[in-house]
């Protein structure tokens, strides 16, 4: 087994030297921030049209993170590309020849890619919040309010974890086409439908993205049966399951 720092350095080189992968991170940041600001501007202008109930539970922090709905797809794309590119290009054969202990290759790749996704996620989260609050004008909040800093960190964590979830699942699915075909529709539509249709709401709320997004909210609207940290823990359990499944597949299948 090669020493871990070498393998981490190698994975860092791999990530930073493929432009397409890096663009997904840039677009995750831009899409999330721009969309968050637009929705914040929109709500600021139409605040008076909201129902009394909506005004009472108005959550300026959560509103500024509205862009994550779309921006997370770019994060998922990043997670998929980092792993699936190894298979679609055949690079996996070079990678496993250099690092034949499969768990080590997986751990190093996930560590480096997740660290990068978390860093971009945090920047995205703070930028979304700060610019979103500017756009919200009189309805804004700030970091010193209770729960707000926790929600901003929670959103950064969410962005990193969703990428890690995608990586774990992609080690199982391998093909980029299959990975995109399964994950993008799921996170873009299916999960939202399941969480918002009354019949499936109870299950839908425990899906990874729905549970994780609980951490983005400051105001408890009473819609969630659990708190922000529990939400993140539920998401973390999903992520752990995805990574474990990926590791089992990588360990046993031929490359």
């Amino acid at each position: 087994m090669s020493p871990m720092p070498r393998v981490l350095l190698s994975e860092w080189t791999k990530i930073r030297t493929v432009r397409a992968t890096l663009w997904t991170l840039v677009s995750a940041l831009l899409v999330t921030v721009v969309l968050g600001v637009l929705i914040s501007v929109l709500l600021n202008n139409t605040f008076d049209d909201l129902s009394r109930e909506d005004r009472a539970t108005f959550d300026p922090t959560f509103i500024s993170f509205s862009g994550t709905q779309l921006g997370q797809l770019a994060m998922i794309a990043f997670g998929i590309l980092v792993v699936a590119n190894e298979y679609s290009t055949g690079m996996i054969r070079s990678s496993l020849s250099a690092v034949p202990v499969r768990g080590q290759l997986l751990a190093a790749k996930l560590a480096v890619a997740t660290a990068l996704a978390l860093a971009v996620g945090m920047v995205t989260s703070f930028a979304s919040f700060l610019l979103g609050q500017l756009a919200l004008g009189d309805h804004r909040t700030d970091l010193s309010e209770p729960g707000v800093l926790r929600a901003v960190f929670g959103t950064g964590l969410y962005m990193g974890l969703i990428a890690l979830f995608a990586m774990g699942l992609t080690w199982v699915l391998r093909s980029p086409l299959l990975s995109f075909g399964v994950q993008i529709p799921f996170f873009f539509m299916i999960s939202n439908i399941l969480a918002n249709v009354p019949a499936t709401e109870k299950i839908g709320q425990y899906l990874p993205d729905q549970a994780g997004s609980r951490a983005m909210a400051v105001v408890d609207t009473g819609d969630w049966p659990y708190g922000p940290w529990t939400g993140l823990l539920i998401m973390l359990a999903w992520v752990a399951a995805a990574v474990l499944a990926g590791w089992l597949v990588l360990r046993h299948r031929d490359a």
């Binding site: 070498r6 080189t13 070079s94 020849s97 250099a98």
Partner: protein, 310 residues
């Protein structure tokens, strides 16, 4: 040294490699010969730990590949299938491999120069020709200056100059005392580079012999003679103590064959007895023929026309 003992690989009902046992020794070029689909690439992937054998073991320097520390400094491999990200420059491709095995950065530039890609290190392989891609693969095999080299069909896609270069490289690596294991489906290619031959067909070992031994055994040398005065010629030959047998070769009906080069003796005998000869010549069965004969039972995708004629 590479040791295979009883290595078997099954995919569902299909057996790609069946109980393959052999040793690939240092200081020699060992040719791994077999028709397409014989299991050569699968065997090489099992040596590298990419595919897991269904049964048996493949050891490199006495250990399974996965237990080697910094494996690229022990084994360098060029696989047949592409194994490069087309969007990462040649330099960075080699750099990330080097870093994982503690190989110094300057070695990347060295191997790029060595394979003649020094000028295109900053380019992405998606614009590379087949030959350049092959050179990049060879560069990554040489990266760790390994004692063992595995090349799967290394001359595929190369121009004549490139083929010449690869042959010389392979010979040189073996002469430096390294273990060199090269696969090919072309006997003629092996005849030029290999010292030792391992022949497989449908995943089974057909021959494990020195190249010289293979030639001796399979590339029979014989004299062919044809005469309208067949009876008189045969009498003359048997008087002189020469054994002749009817030729079985296609297109040589009515001709007779004698072992070895006897053209001088036969020609003199015929002149002495004033016999007309229509043909007299020394022949050597081609290695390609010998290889085809050896593997004809085991060719998976045989053209039907060829099969009927053969």
């Amino acid at each position: 040294m590479i040791e295979l003992s009883g290595v078997t690989k099954r995919y569902g009902l299909k057996t790609a490699v069946r109980e393959l046992t052999c040793v690939i020794r240092p200081g020699l070029v060992t040719g791994f010969l077999g028709p397409n689909g014989a299991g050569k690439s699968t065997t090489m992937r099992m040596i590298l730990g990419l595919d897991r054998p269904t049964a048996g073991r493949a050891l490199v320097e006495g250990r399974p590949y996965a237990l080697l520390r910094d494996p690229l400094t022990v084994v360098g491999a060029l696989l047949e299938a592409r194994s490069v990200h087309p969007g990462r420059t040649a330099y960075h491709h080699l750099l990330c491999l080097a870093q994982s095995n503690g190989i110094p950065r300057r070695r990347v530039g060295e191997v790029l120069d060595l394979v003649g890609l020094g000028a295109v290190g900053a380019r992405r392989p998606k614009g590379f020709s087949l030959g350049m891609g092959q050179r990049l693969g060879i560069a990554s095999a040489l990266l760790g200056d390994p004692r063992i080299l595995i090349f799967d069909e290394p001359v595929n896609g190369l121009d004549p100059e490139g083929i010449h270069w690869v042959r010389n490289l392979i010979r040189r690596l073996a002469s430096e005392g390294r273990t060199v294991f090269v696969s090919s489906h072309l006997m003629s290619e092996m005849a030029l580079t290999a010292d030792h031959l391992i022949v497989i067909g449908q995943g089974q070992l057909l021959a494990d012999t020195s190249m010289a031994g293979f030639i001796e055994e399979n590339a029979r040398s014989y004299t062919r003679v044809r005469s309208p005065d067949r009876e008189k010629l045969l009498d003359a030959l048997s008087h002189a103590g020469l054994d002749a047998a009817p030729s079985g070769a296609p297109g040589a009906e009515g001709a007779w064959e004698l072992e070895g080069d006897r053209t001088a003796v036969v020609g003199e005998l015929a002149a002495e007895r004033r016999l007309v000869l229509h043909e007299l010549g020394h022949h050597r069965a081609s290695l390609e023929e010998a290889f085809m004969r050896l593997t004809s039972q085991s060719v998976e995708y045989q053209a039907h026309v060829g099969a009927e004629e053969g």
